[in-house]
Symmetry: C2
Subunit: 127 residues, 2 copies
């Protein structure tokens, strides 16, 4: 479902939006600005290693705790903490228990980056 | 002070960063991605009416409560709520008591938009 407007001008309550879906590893769009989407996603378990050749990606934890695995270290993130994965850097998000994150990335970004797989979400949904 | 690196790859704890400064209406940069800055700002009182001709601006409340005044309505925002002001739309942020916000906007954005004044912050600081 496309949002009825590309500039909805409604405020977004992050926790209320998170109650609207249960699906994990399937980011939902909650806003758009300057060619970037603001997305919310629920994570649990391990995602695939991937990178985005041309796009930096921001993770801000809203609920719970995740660990961004990089090839040379791990970055644990609690609620209220953010991390920017620069373009080209391989990463793998891991959440031991379900966690919710806000993502900020260009409208062109695929969730699996350059590693297209069965986990790639092709058609993003507005909520 | 410029941040030593444009892609610092350190995580950002929003509340810890907020403890590093007291100045109000003077956004500090905490991250950069895809030509956009992530900034933190403390607001109290009323700002000037302004708009940004070419830039959409995101406000996410981290602590406290603000009201984004638009010419036709007011948008109250609590912690955990965000609002995107589309380019060209006049707005005036108001905070009855001190509040802290995360801003997301292009690296070219001036805080006062097209209404340059003594409140315009010309040189943004990384924290």
């Amino acid at each position: 479902m496309q949002h009825p407007s590309r500039t909805p001008m409604d405020k977004v309550n992050l926790k209320a939006k998170l109650r609207l879906f249960e699906e994990q590893w399937s980011p939902k769009i909650v806003g758009e600005l300057n060619g970037q989407y603001v997305k919310l996603a629920k994570l649990e378990g391990e995602f695939d290693w991937h990178s985005h050749e041309h796009e930096d990606e921001l993770f801000l934890v809203v609920e719970g705790r995740i660990v961004i695995h990089l090839r040379d270290r791990e970055v644990p993130l609690e609620a209220g903490e953010l991390f920017i994965v620069p373009r080209g850097v391989e990463h793998k998000p891991v959440a031991e228990r379900e966690a919710s994150v806000l993502l900020f990335e260009p409208t062109s970004t695929l969730n699996t980056g350059d590693a297209r797989s069965e986990r790639t979400v092709e058609a993003l949904e507005w909520i």
